[in-house]
Every structure is written in C-alpha cells, then in structure tokens.
Symmetry: C2
Subunit: 751 residues, 2 copies
C-alpha cells in the first residue's frame, strides 16, 4: 500500500490556490505568519504535542495531560485491536504536521484540543446522529441521551469523525465532549474569511455577511485532566473507518440466526400467547428466527428482578427449549436497574451508585464483583439453558430518568463516564462473562453505546420513529462502528407498513417491535405478499450478508455503508458532463464526496434506496455512482453515474435495489424459515453485467466463537462468461451451505 | 414582623401526617432513620455546612469550598444590598435545620449541593423560563442562551427559586448550573414513594407505576471549586422575592420616559426616514417616547464600530437634540463585538478574548481599562450629547455564534462565567460608567442577564415570539429580579395585532419592534382606535406604574407580578365551596399557591388577563383571587374568588383589566404624548368598590439619580366615602404631576 499522506501532498500540488490556503494549517509544515500578542490567548501559545505514538499501522495515539482515573472507551472494547489486519491495510504517513494539533489545559479544569481544518474540508461521523452525516460548522455536545433535537445528544454519540481530506480522529475518553467544528474563530487565526458589514449603505454590498463565518479548526473541550487522541490514516474514507473498526477490535460477527427476522411479544404475553403467535407465523408463511419477550416475563420490571414471572411462564427452561426445537431463539427485554423485591438487590446494594432509577439501584459494572453477581444470575436464570440474548433498554437517558451528573459509584468512576459508557459496560458484562465464556455467539439490542464498540453484537434502536431519520441512521452507523435497526412499531397505512418493512429488512436487524400497537406482519393484508417477499429476500440473502459481516470482522468494512464511504470513482455523470467535475477521481475532494443519506450500500455491491415518508412513499430519485448499475430484481441496466427515478408500480411494489456491474450475489436457492434451515441449503449465484464474475462466500459453524481460532472458510467462486463456474475453498473451517445449484446471469437491456 | 420559621412550625403542627413525612428532611431536626452502607455515597456521608452567616435581615449566606477566582453575580450587581429596607421587612428564623443542607465536592471537580424538599413542596423561578413557573421535578441546565426548547437555557437563567414552603434559594455563582429538582432519588433516601411494578400480572395493580418518581431534594451541581448559597426567608412568596431583590440592590427605577411607548426604525433608515416616521406618529395621534435605531446607524455592524454612519445620519448631535426637543428619546442598537474597521479595535484587541464573534473581537469588561475605553467612546459618540440608551443585542447565544467554552480572556475569567455574565458586564459598564457617572437615568434593552440584576435599568427581549410564552415571561420575570418586554414584531391579522399591543402595554416596556415586517401601530386600520386607546391608557397609568416601580426600588416589590406571588388569601371560591379547601389561608400550602401564568398583577391592585393566540383571541377565563374584583373600564363588579369568562365584544375590544375592591388607581387626566408632557399634568383617581380609599403617588425629577440621595416624595391621598379626599406629602423631593382634579367612584352592579 502506498502512503496516504504522501499521495495527498502530490494531489495538493495540482491545486496551487488550494495549497496556499491550507499550508499554514494543514498537512504542510510551512511557518505560521501570525504575530503574537501580549495576552496568553494566541494559537502560538497553545501547547504542542510531542508524543504521538504509532499504535498500529496507520494509527497513532497521544495522551494529553493526565489520564489516571479517566475511563477510555478502548478499555471497554470487546476485543483487542486487530493489529495484523491493520498491517494488511498498510503503513501510512502521519496525516498532519505533528506541530499543528495543539491543546490547552484551562484553569477551570477544561481541556481543549484544536485540530486544524482546510477551508473546504468537511467532517462526517460522531456516531448515531440521525439528522445528517456532515457536521462541519456545527457545535455538538456528545452525550449519551435519547435522540431528540440533534445537538449531539443521542444513543451513540461516538467521538470519532472522518475528514474529507483523508484521515480520522477519535477522542478516546468517556467524557461529555463539546465539539466546535469549523466554528468559533480565534482572533489570531491566519485562515479566515473577510469581515463583512451586515448593513452596508450600498445595496450592492448587501448579502455578503455570513451569520456563521467558517472556522479553521475542530476545537473540542471536555472536563478532564487528560485526553487520549487517536488519529487514523486512510487512502479512502472507507479505509479510515476500517482502521477505526480494527483498532476497536474488528467488527462483530453475529450468529447466523441473528440476521433472520425478529418479532416481539406484548409485555403482558404469557407462554400460551407465544405459542399461538408462532403458530400464526407458520400459517402465514413468515420466516422467524427470534422471538422477543418484553418486560412482563419478569416478576417486576422498571426496576427489574430478572426472575421469571411463573404465572406467565410456568416452565422457563422447557419453554425456551421448545422454541429452540422449532429453530426460534428467545430474546429477553431487560433494563439494568434492580428492584428491591429481586434477589440481586441485597448483594448488589453496596456495589451500586448513590442514586436510583425508578427506585431501582444502579449496579456499578466497573466493580468486577458486581459484574460477576449480575452475570452469574443471568447464566443461571436464562442464558445457561438456551435463552439467546437480551434487549438492554433504558441505558441512554433522559436526565430526568437516570442518575444525576453528581452521582457517585463504588468504583470511583464519575457519573459522567458512567452515563457515557453504561450501555457499553452492560455489553461488556454480557459479552465477556456470558457469550464468550459459554462459547455461544449472541445477537442483541442495546439502547446506548459508545466509542470502540464495533466488536459488540448489540444493535441500537430508538423511540424517535421518523422513517427518514431511521434511514439516515443506517448510514450514520457505518461511520462509527455501530449497528442500528430502524425497527417497525406501527404504520398509518399499508404503504408505510410495507416501506418500513422493506427498510428494516436491509438493516443490521430485521425486527418488528410492534407489541404496543399489536401489529403483525400480516396486519395490512393488501401488502402481506410484498411483506413476505422482502422478508424471504432477506433470508435468501443470508450468505451474502453473513459474508459482509465476516468482512466487518476481519477487515473492518461495515456490512452496510453510507454513500460517503464509497470509493473515489463516486461521481455523478451529469456533473461530469456539465463540466463541473474534471474527471479526476480524488475521493478526498469535498465536492466529490457524495453525501446522500436516504440510500446506502448493503454488503459490497448492493445499493438500497427505500421508499419512505409521505413524499417518497411510491417514487423517488436514486443517485447512482459511476460504474454500471443493474436492477437487482430484473437484471435491467439502470444507469451509470447519474440520478434516476424509480417508482413502486414499475418495481411491482418491491424495494429499489441495485447491483454493481460485474458483481455476484450469493443467495439461498429458497428462503429458509429460519437459520436452522440454512444448514446445507442449496445456493444460487446471481451475476450482474458483462464478463466474468468472482465471489467469496464465508462459512463457519454460525453459532460459536470458534472462528476466532481459525475455524472458518471462504468459498471462492470464479464465474466464466458462459455461466459455468469453478469453486475453491480457502481455510479448513466447517461447511455451512450446500452446493451451488445455478448461476443466474442478470443482464437485460442496453447499457 | 414575626419569625417565618417559627410560624411555619406552628402551622406544620396542624398537619400531623405531613409532619411525619417531612420531619426527616425539612425544617425539623429529628434524627434520620437510615442505616449507612459500606460505600461513600450515603446522604449521611455528605458534608454539612457550619458557616451560615446572616448577611441581612432574613438573609443568610454560606461559601462552600473555595471561591477564589470564581465570579459571583452579586459582584456584578448595580447597587449594594439595601440592608435598611431588609431590616424593615423584619428579622426571621433560618428556614431550615442548618444540618439539612449538604454538599459534596467530587473528584472530577463537580460541586454538588443538596437542599431537601417536603413531599408536597413546589419550587418556582429560575429566571426567564418562558414555558412555566413551577419547575418541580424538572432537570434544568441554567445557561445563558437563546430561549428555545426549555431545559433551563434562556436569556436570563437566574439561579434563584422560591419554595411553596416559604423560603428562597440563590446560587450566587456565574457558572452553568445543573438543577435536579425533586428528581434523582438517592438509594438511601428516607422519604420516597413505594416501588411499583410496571407490568403486574393483576390488572388492578396496573397504572400505579410512575415514570418519574418524586425526589426528596433539589440537588444542583456545577463545575467549580466553590459556591456561594444564599437563603431568603419570607412570610409570603412575595416577601421572599422582595428580600432577593433588596439583597440584589433593590429594583431599578426607570426614567419616566422609559415607561412610555417605544418604536424602532428599519436597520437601513436614515435621518429623513426618522423625521417622516415621527410626523406620521403625530398625525395618527399615537404617543411616542422612544425611537430606536437598528444597526444601520453605525458604519459597520455584526461586528460593530459604534461610529455613526454619516451617510445616513450626517449630524448625529443635531439629530439627537432635535428629537429631544420634541420629547423623543433616542435608543441605539449595539452588540459588543468590535469590527476590525472601528477605532476601538486596536486599543481593545489585547484586552479581548481568544475567540471572535462574527470576526469581531470580544472585549473583556472584567478588565477595568477595557471598560473605560469602551464607555469613554460611548460617552463621546452618543450618550454624552443626549442619546438616551442602548439595545444590547447578541449577548445570549447560540453556541455556534458566541465564543466556545474553552475561550480565554485577559482577566482570567472563565469562558463559562463570561457567557453567564456578559450581558450583565455590559450593563454594569453602561450603568456605572455612563448613566450613574453622568447622573442621567436610562432605560434600555438587553438580550441576556443573570442573578442579582434587579437594579439594572435593562429590559429583556427574545426572538421566540409565541404570544402565550411572552405572557408567561411577564410572570416569570417577577420571580427573578428581571424585566421583560413581549415586544411586537408582526401579526397575522388585526386581532392578533391588537392583542399583542394590549399585552405589551401592560409589560415592563411597551415596545413596537416591527422594523423587519415594516408594521406601524396603524397598520391594521380596523383596530387602530383600539390600539391608540391602549397606548393612551398606558400613558394615563404612568403615575400608577411609576409608583409601582418606586415600590420595586425601595421595597423590592416587582411592579408586575406572577399570580403565585399574590398573598395567602388567594383561593378560588369555587374550590372552597366544593369543600376542596378548608378555609385556611396558608400561602405556603402548595395547592393554594395559584399558578396561572396567562394573567398577572400590574402594580399593586390591577389584574391583567390579555387575549392571546388563536384559541383565546377574543374570549378566555380569568381566575379571580378572593376579594371583590371590579372591571377596570366600567367599574362593574365581576367576582370574588372565582373563575369568570370574559369576551372581547362585551369589553368593546379593550383588554380585560380588573381592580381589587377598595383600591385607588392614580391616573393622568389626559393621555400625554410623551413623558415630557407629564410634568405638571392633572391627575384623576379612580376608586373601586365600597368604603374609603387610600393611595400613594411617587414623585421625583423623573430623570436623574437624585432620588438615591432622598430627592423624592410620596403624595398620600385619603378618599372619603363621598369621594372627597385629603392629600399629605411625605418627603421633600420635587413635584412631578399637577393637581388631583377628580375622584371617580368606579362601583357599578351587584356584589
């Protein structure tokens, strides 16, 4: 691999004007021209950082100030950094002049770090921000809370951003972080816009004033004596994200059943209700892998006992096993706050924080003993006899529900750090002490997570429910090592029901969570066939999607990706034809990083553009990157680097899905009812476009952690022009699917 | 005066059940029953406060931790505490067991103070919160910012609250303050609700669960090594507020002209436009005291030069004087951020903060030299030759406009403290160095203020514009020593125009600020007569309202007051008749503190209930406290302790106004065009209800600070049953009005 920074410099030399503008602040070490003043507030007076340490290929870290007693997100990561995988991505040059990143420790205990920005640079990321991906010129408070109004507070405010100039920055601290992105100009900044009068006498001078003049840096501040900053290089924005994920332990690899269809029961449902519901799923022919129980499975909830309510479930063990026999995995709702009436209250009382949540004590999972008491109970009462995992609710906010910022905890962890990491601490407890220790993979839900979380098999969800935001969340998640489900709770009409169902089937977790509204997949009979079809399509795509997750695990490539992560050839032909682009393919040129958040990439080669909202319920635009694109369903050629219109009628009420020319999509020949039926099932390969094809299909035992010790294999298939193929096996792990029964050539219509 | 605390104890003894519930936490020092645990997080382990110091009659202060380098709001107060006036209110007992208020200094630099609450206690206040007055069970961040969504961020987040149990608490620190009011239960709290299951099996047990169980304290936290807490006693909520205002230096007393009608010109207006506009006011017969110029009066704005744009105003001095000759006072818009093109830039550059606002430098008014340079310029360029005052904009927020929390300032003041006090620092500079030093009173606008601000002649305003919220603001202001104008900018129809005009004429500043929309008082011709009538009514009420401001200054009584500040007899007759109230008159009993925020008291005896919004545009309810109430306009008896309906048609499109039985309202016989015409003008007294009457009318020179050295007088008038009267003069100050020409007996209809 070539060095990123070196390549950037070369690119920059082509743009002389740009070079002049950015030289004082970014990448190049030419001397600053500002004059210093008498006050201690100049940029020159800020502290320099001399201790950047290479912590992996293309990854550098520095500790500013004193981190004793401060919690880093990486300390809570599920797995160690995947240094070998980083090495395969290649070494790279540090993307800054090391002198350019400055900091200051203020008398009132705030710590500030300043990272320069070029005049046209954009930054993307900061975790699960549901409104957009580009956060340039925003002020954000990164704090774990319910998503509501933007401003940075959300279920997963990951303090990591990707720059359009080709690097990433991760603030590795469990503190509330205030981010001033290209806003808040210093008075001695050398790179700034001219000052304009807002009310000039001459009319022609009016309108130039800017309410928010662009700043020349990202400045972040936090209340802490120390901060660890991690910088990631990358040839492309995707490579930056890969390095972040690999540094975080790699992406999670769910059990295969986790990628099937999920459904949740009413909070007051009992075992008989569950059996009746399962019978109805069978009758309706709707696949189902996971059945979720809401709080009523416990003797008390909000706060919780985690003890079975035997009036509803008289035989938890037998009940769980009977579902497993049918291929159905049981998921249990929890929140971590413990009722006075539960057996965990007494042992955990001294190991809990000063404040309660709904009167429940708040166990301090940073105390190993507390974690052990908690997970031993879970092993004994549910996971040990076959319960598959949990939905960990209420670890996100609001302030009026959770502990205050001044709460204290036995481990000495600050209330702020507990707030930022409580979801992650709970994940760590369940993952390390249950899933890993029992060597049984799990797939779960959690309401909040943090930085360095990519290796956790937990999917985020929200109450906010706006369909457009939920689609944006799919893209946003891919920039921060997190997973997201735009779960379905209800719909105003059949069209919305189908559109939401189609969206969720192309997300990290295809879950119906309609227990409050009582809706079932077949509640809108006029679209039930289409609903069944998209769920079956998800099931048929399991070999493709599971392989995408393997790439997440081994290479850090998110299985679903924002369009801004697509590679440098991602331009719109119309723009090229209009002469607005010059034919260069520099992925870091801002105007060519393509931010469109209502479509996204599913696996390596599929582009998904769901219908949504009242406005785009049955027709919408899709922006196709350069390259040939084919309709997934029909194989028709649809375009190349252009914006096309799609409508539901033409698609036969199917979701708009497009495949890159030359790509091969491995699918099950028939939709499995659940993952149990996948074992040994026949495959078909769909090859789109002209020429030869190649595809890798990941296989392992689908349920244990044995893949971590090499127990997996890739089936590599080369497809010839005539549709015949040759299969090679890489690795010695177990087989998962059956034979490839056919190659379907999906190429219709004119290029 | 009797001791408050003693009286409270007596009252509490009547309520044995209540007493048991609150004894462990409030007012009584009986022993706590909780058992301590092994962790250092118990209530018992919190620090006690041993150094409560009496700092005035009924006022106590304590310093927790270390306040070196921390800014107190009281350091920025306009005037010294009015200790003599406090003494006249009487001594009182400390309203708590001193052992009950606890604190903790946390390892991460947070300081927490815990003030216990009784189970039924409510708290009101926290400054200009525009949504409601009762903030019990809220979590708020008190931070200066634009008002938007609640949550505590607003133009004047005064850290002062009044308890329904009869005391007030002021956190005297210029820090962001996080307030957890009766939320966030400690696990060892002795006073708490039982725990309920959210999903019980038995249907009859459902619905008891509470999403936000009530906490037993106000807990506040802040980032600071120290905090000063001030406690105020009071026989009534109003007395608590009076003590707070007197401790803050007393209320401001505006120049009489400040209470007249205000109008603002378009930002690009020139001198000729002003003359034309003034001529139109005359022609339309609309009173006018103050003419405001928006930013275009300067050579550059956003940031500013504070230098006259002579292309628009070729002769600033002559222009200002010509307006004064006509009785019109000139008010100039500013923001404090300084343009590179202004003469102040060079001298103030080294005395400004690290960051800019719209590229303007931010002078550090905590540096005396900076303040002197700034105000010398203002004296020279405007105030010195007759400009009357300023509209100080943009000192409130947003984060994306102002300096970041990590900005630094030459005085060493933290960015946080600068944010919390910048509006107040600017007020201090203008008040002390200009208005007081020139011995010329002023009345001004400011976009943000803080604690201990009652003596400043600055009125707050906002961009939020919701009429109902603007009316709530009138009440909210009265709880925090601040002034507020629900200024008018535009209206969707004539009815809204009139309703907003009526509201603003019963606020602290009657201002039309419609320069953007271009609307004039006569823009909706169908209501121009009604608009003129209410402006004229405000002018006729000047003797009444100016006296109310004198009471604000001398006694701390807000001139306009929330209904929750009305005294203990404030009950609704209907409730009494329904047996819901027992006839007791305890102002501290929660259910009898009457929170209704869409009506308020104007001066001592007038109740104002404006029409507002689409829903209450022409008809609404008015809740009358006990006592006889009369329609201001007709003198008709309207009710006593009951809810009545009023409608616009019956009132002849006048604002609903009610006067307490027995009250006398001093008025000008004729509406003055402006305050210049008030001097020597004849008075009439309107006496409402049966029996004899008494009224005090305050007089001074109306423009200087000589009243501070005793140059004022009160005219005390006793009215006999037959309408004849006797007048006595108290004090040796100058006369202001002419003779009392008539007493009007305003009593019609049956009681």
């Amino acid at each position: 691999m070539k060095s990123t920074a070196g390549k950037l410099h070369t690119r920059f030399n082509r743009f002389a004007g740009y070079l002049a503008a950015c030289c004082a602040t970014l990448h190049l070490g030419c001397a600053s021209t500002q004059t210093s003043t008498a006050t201690p507030t100049t940029i020159d007076a800020l502290q320099q950082i001399s201790n950047w340490e290479r912590v992996g290929a293309g990854v550098w870290s520095t500790t500013i100030g004193e981190m004793d007693g401060e919690l880093r997100y990486t300390e809570l990561a599920a797995e160690r950094p995947r240094l070998e995988a980083l090495k395969r991505l290649g070494e790279a040059e540090f993307p800054f002049d090391p002198d350019e990143i400055r900091y200051e420790i203020l008398p009132d205990g705030r710590l500030m770090v300043r990272i320069p920005l070029a005049p046209d640079e954009k930054i993307y990321g900061f975790g699960l921000q549901l409104d957009r991906l580009d956060h340039t010129q925003r002020v954000m408070t990164l704090k774990v809370d319910h998503w509501s109004q933007g401003g940075g507070e959300t279920h997963a405010p990951v303090p990591f951003y990707v720059s359009s100039k080709g690097y990433g920055v991760f603030f590795d601290t469990a503190r509330y972080l205030k981010v001033y992105a290209a806003t808040g100009n210093r008075k001695d900044a050398t790179q700034r816009e001219p000052e304009f009068d807002r009310n000039p006498v001459n009319e022609e001078e009016r309108g130039k004033w800017n309410a928010q003049p662009r700043g020349d840096a990202v400045e972040v501040s936090l209340l802490s004596p120390g901060l660890e900053v991690v910088i990631f290089a990358g040839e492309t924005p995707l490579e930056v994200v890969q390095r972040y994920n690999l540094y975080s332990g790699g992406g999670t690899l769910p059990p295969l059943w986790g990628l099937g269809f999920w459904h949740r029961m009413h909070a007051h449902a009992d075992a008989e209700d569950v059996y009746a519901e399962l019978a109805e799923f069978k009758e309706q022919g709707i696949p189902l892998d996971v059945l979720g129980l809401e709080p009523g499975w416990m003797t008390r909830s909000y706060p919780c006992t985690f003890e079975w309510q035997t009036l509803r479930f008289p035989d938890p063990k037998g009940f769980t096993q009977s579902l497993l026999d049918d291929g159905i995995h049981l998921n249990l709702w929890i929140n971590p706050y413990i009722s006075q009436k539960g057996s965990l209250h007494e042992p955990l009382y001294p190991l809990s924080g000063s404040h309660t949540v709904w009167h429940g004590i708040v166990p301090d999972f940073q105390v190993p003993e507390a974690r052990a008491i908690f997970t031993d109970h879970f092993r004994e009462e549910h996971f040990g006899f076959g319960v598959s995992g949990y939905k960990a609710d209420e670890v996100d906010g609001y302030d009026r529900w959770l502990w205050p910022d001044h709460a204290t905890f036995p481990s000495g962890t600050s209330a702020e750090a507990m707030r930022q990491t409580y979801g992650m601490q709970l994940q760590k407890a369940l993952y390390t002490d249950l899933f890993r220790s029992e060597n049984r993979r799990s797939y779960n839900l959690v309401r909040a997570t943090s930085g360095a979380a990519s290796a956790y098999p937990f999917v985020l969800y929200s109450d906010s429910y706006d369909h457009e935001e939920y689609i944006t969340g799919i893209s946003a998640a891919s920039l921060g090592g997190i997973l997201w489900t735009p779960e379905i709770r209800r719909a105003g009409n059949a069209r919305e029901w189908l559109n939401r169902m189609q969206t969720v089937c192309f997300s990290h977790m295809a879950m119906l969570n309609a227990w409050v509204s009582g809706a079932k997949p077949w509640s809108f009979p006029e679209v039930t066939d289409s609903v069944r079809e998209v769920i079956e399509l998800r099931m048929r795509l399991l070999p493709y999607f599971y392989t995408a997750f393997a790439d997440y695990h081994f290479e850090g490539i998110p299985p679903i990706r924002a369009m801004v992560l697509e590679d440098g050839d991602f331009r719109i032909r119309a723009e090229v034809e209009a002469g607005e682009l010059d034919g260069e393919t520099n992925p870091y040129e801002v105007d060519r990083v393509f931010e469109k958040n209502d479509q996204f990439m599913f696996g390596p080669d599929m582009l998904v553009a769901p219908f949504y909202g009242p406005r785009y319920a049955t027709a919408r635009e899709v922006a196709l990157p350069t390259g040939d694109w084919y309709d997934f369903h029909s194989g028709a050629f649809v375009g190349n680097g252009e914006i096309i219109e799609v409508d539901a009628e033409t698609l036969g009420d199917r979701i708009p899905l497009f495949v890159r020319g030359g790509a091969t999509i491995p699918m099950l020949k028939d939709a499995a009812n659940n993952a149990k039926a996948v074992s040994g099932a026949s495959l078909v390969l769909r090859h789109y476009g002209e020429g030869e094809g190649f595809v890798r299909i990941y296989e392992d035992d689908a349920t244990t952690f044995d893949y971590l010790s090499g127990e997996y294999r890739f089936r590599e298939v080369r497809i010839r022009e005539d549709g015949s193929f040759e299969e090679t096996i890489q690795g010695a792990g177990p087989a998962l699917y059956g034979d490839i029964e056919a190659v379907e050539k999906m190429t219709r219509g004119q290029r």
